[in-house]
Amino acid sequence: MTIFDPLRRREFLGAAAAGLGLACGRPEVASDPPVIELVGPDPARGHRLRDRGFASGSIAATEDVGVVIVGAGAAGMAAAWRLARAGFDDFVVLELEDGIGGTARSGAFSRSAYPMGAHYLPAPHPECAALEALLEDLGILLGRDAAGRPDYLPSAQVSAPEERHFVDHRWFEGLYPGEGEGREEAEAWARWRDHLRALDRRGVDGRRLFRLPVARSSVELRDLDRVTMRGYLDGLGLTGWRLRWMIDYACRDDYGCTIDQTSAFAGLHYSLARGLDEHRPILTAPGGNGRLIDAIAGRVDLGARLRVGVAALEVDPDAGEVVTVRIADGERRRLRARSILWAAPRFILPRVLPPGRDPLPSGALRYTPWLVASVEVDRRPRGLGAPLSWDNVPIDGPSLGYVVATHGEDAAETRPGAVLTYYEPLTAADAEGLAAARRELLAADADALAARVRAGLEPMHPGIGPTIRRMAITRWGHAMIRPTPGLLFGEALALARAPIGVVRPCATDTAGLPLFEEAFYAGLGAAEAALAAVGRSEPSMIEDEVG
């Protein structure tokens, strides 16, 4: 009940005041230096495992357990959820780090939780019934309306304004850089959209051409995995920079690869796997996908079955034995299991298997390193043009910009400021480049990385530096599997996920695309196989799905 004046007095005054502020130099500069911390995975633990740096010791105890899940990331937790859903509770989950979530881990400032890595999940396509079942079980999918459409918790959805991009010192709504677009470019963009619509169909085998998980896509266009996305666009004669930027951005965002590095199948998959519904909600939380992980942990009520800060040191795939070591005190245990789900990154597996036991050639899978940093600022950043959005993307520079962790916060929140999460994939072209980028990332100290993050934010928000109160920096040496040409349907991936004795590799990377959905289905599939191995007959949630 309001008669509102459209002149927006307060905003006008705010803009005028901001103008005055600019003219007189910046007011209210934070005086204390920001608190900078390194969070996320501890590279030393991984390297100690790689270098077999754990001193040998005696086994303190031997336990018999039905299923061992190694890795409490999205895949491992999905597997745990599936086992619990089947009423099977004879399992343990091992996690090398002190916190769960893997690349979907989250941290928290007193102001707000923040993601350390993966931070959103598009509401699933209706054919992903198992994923919908998870979301329903977690209370994020509330139910369905009369038409059968899922009804998601409003606070779990990204609300407007969703996206803006920064070009020529101004912000514009949405992601497509349409400002100043010529007729030819507009036509090319329309042609690209038409092209996608034409590909939003089922293939000769009755399956959708692109779907999740990717392994279930129709066979019809799988040859597109042999060419790069750039080559594919060249073939279509689509060359304008706007369109190229948009698709390149999408590939870097989802895969940490440029269009030169991404396979055309993966590039198309980004746009088509969830259908072309533009109104599909995006599910997120201040802590990103860590909220999903934490919700699963709460739902499954892991209790003592979750062992964090514990490394799987040796795996005997034939005897079904895992030797674990607790990082804190070096205590060793032997777990004898009927099934071992390897939900940790696949490249670690050969380091714990007996030599020569891994059929996958070393270096067959490649990963993009990422730098992710959450930044608490004491003023909400503004900028000319479109208002602060959930996702804020610069057209130039190596970073993908930042996501506002505090975007969807409670209206009752009165604290000023915001928490921004900055994302930068290190998209080197080849193995040497990636290794060099990884070394550089891990060698840099916190202050150097903080300076790099500030330098990434500064062009979008001149003067943001002094407003920064805290910064939590996560270095991901191996954040994302790279879907370069030939990976998705090639031999390496088939070997990567092939069981080895009782060990089932099922982390996200074995699916070829670094997506939550892939992790979920990989974990789910492995858990169902484990249930079969322990003699629990259970109708498959995956086979239920159509197509």
Binding site: M1, T2, R9, L142, G143, P154, H279, P281, A411
Partner: protein, 521 residues
Amino acid sequence: MPPPVPRPPSPGGARLLLGSVLIVATCGLIYELLSATMASYLLGDSITQFSLVIGVYLSAMGLGSYLSKGVKRDLYDRFIAVQLVVAVVGGLSAIALFFGYAWLSSVRPLLFGILIVVGTMVGLEIPLLIRILKDSGELGDLVARVLAFDYLGALAASVLFPLALLPTLGLSRTGLLFGGLNALVATACAFAFRDQLRRPRALQSTSLAIAAALGLGLALGGRLERIAEEELFDAPLVRSEKSAYQRLSITREGDDVRLYIDGNLQFSSLDEHRYHEALVHPALSEAEAPARVLVLGGGDGLALREILKHPSVEAIDLVDLDPKMTGLFTDDPLLRELNEGSLADPRVTIHNADAMRWLEAHVRGGGAAYDAVLVDLPDPNNFSLGKLYSGPFYRLVGRALRPGGSGVIQATSPLLSPRAFWCVVTTLADAGLHPRPYHAHVPTFGDWGFVMIAHEDRPPPTTLAPVALRYLDEATLAALFVFPRDQRPAEVEPNRLSDQLLVHYYEEDLRSIEQGRRRAR
């Protein structure tokens, strides 16, 4: 450069100085009147504000006069500098207070700060002038003339301010005008007495720059003025509270008590019964002896007053973000009289929370569904409010409403913002809540829109529960659901959380009305 030798002014210079006494005195009183007027506009209770402003200002002048004894050298320089300080602080005082009102938690320190600076400077002026002029005539004669000019200026100010300046220029520009005059006096003196000045160049250029800046402000001030002064109300302010979320202002003129939130009218006591009867009774009558009712928004307790007329009601949950709002309407005697103490009724539970979060927690926590749900939130003029008009929010509302129950949504004006109104209707339809739009004439608002909701497809209601009503009867009720030819549904998309088209519709509708008004002018 050696200090200039102090000399008495020439006869022409003396006339200039005496003339400036007139202007200085006028300006001084104008700033005082401006501050007092601003204070009573912004803080209410004009007698207190005027008394305080006059007292503080006069005592600051006294302080200035006392401090003038310490000024022994460079009298001309000091006089001009004092003029310039008064020009800047006094000239910008009204604008500063408007900004301060919008942005500071309390505007009083700013107000009294301005008063003390301007008062002290004005208090310095006359003694300084007398000391400059003291060698150009007999002292008694001089004091008589200076004081005569001083009081003459005060008379000019007190007549001009209410009769000419306030009606034509408004507050901000009056301030700028007199700041400019102060600066011109300073400029004239800086040139006329350049031989007497220690730093003539600096004072001349500073004076000119300040005069020019204030003149420019005066020329451009129209727009700023209009926006700033929308904070002002047509009627005397009796209460003003600033919460963490909004500014609540209560005005009263005779029987007409009004609530403004951030300067936007929320109700007038003269006709709010029309709004609240239309909001509450169609849905509550249809819900058939409702026992449990949920109200989202409505912290003024006026909808509650109407709900409590239904004897079947046992429990009401009221969710309003702002504890200041519900507190004000619980404790203030005037407002409590309006809502008949509804917020303190034992059947009412107040929850100060984000309506979306509260409803989510209620639904996820398996809270019982309500017999009636009333959504009475501010118009969707920003994305935070737009969320509370979105499909996902309405689906939650639907989950909180039992089958067979009845609900209502305030949905802005179908006349002022037709696309916004029909967007609410479309969104409710998309959320499966079988919307039945209706509208009522509320004179202070114009044509106002509501939407009844239910899980079932139902015809418009035709009966009212037997409760005491001033506006609605059954014939009127039937008419509310009729939309004439020129108010047929607009073609609009539903309001999704991800794009919130409603916020755009609302802004565009109001903008086009504003443009129409400007053209009509």
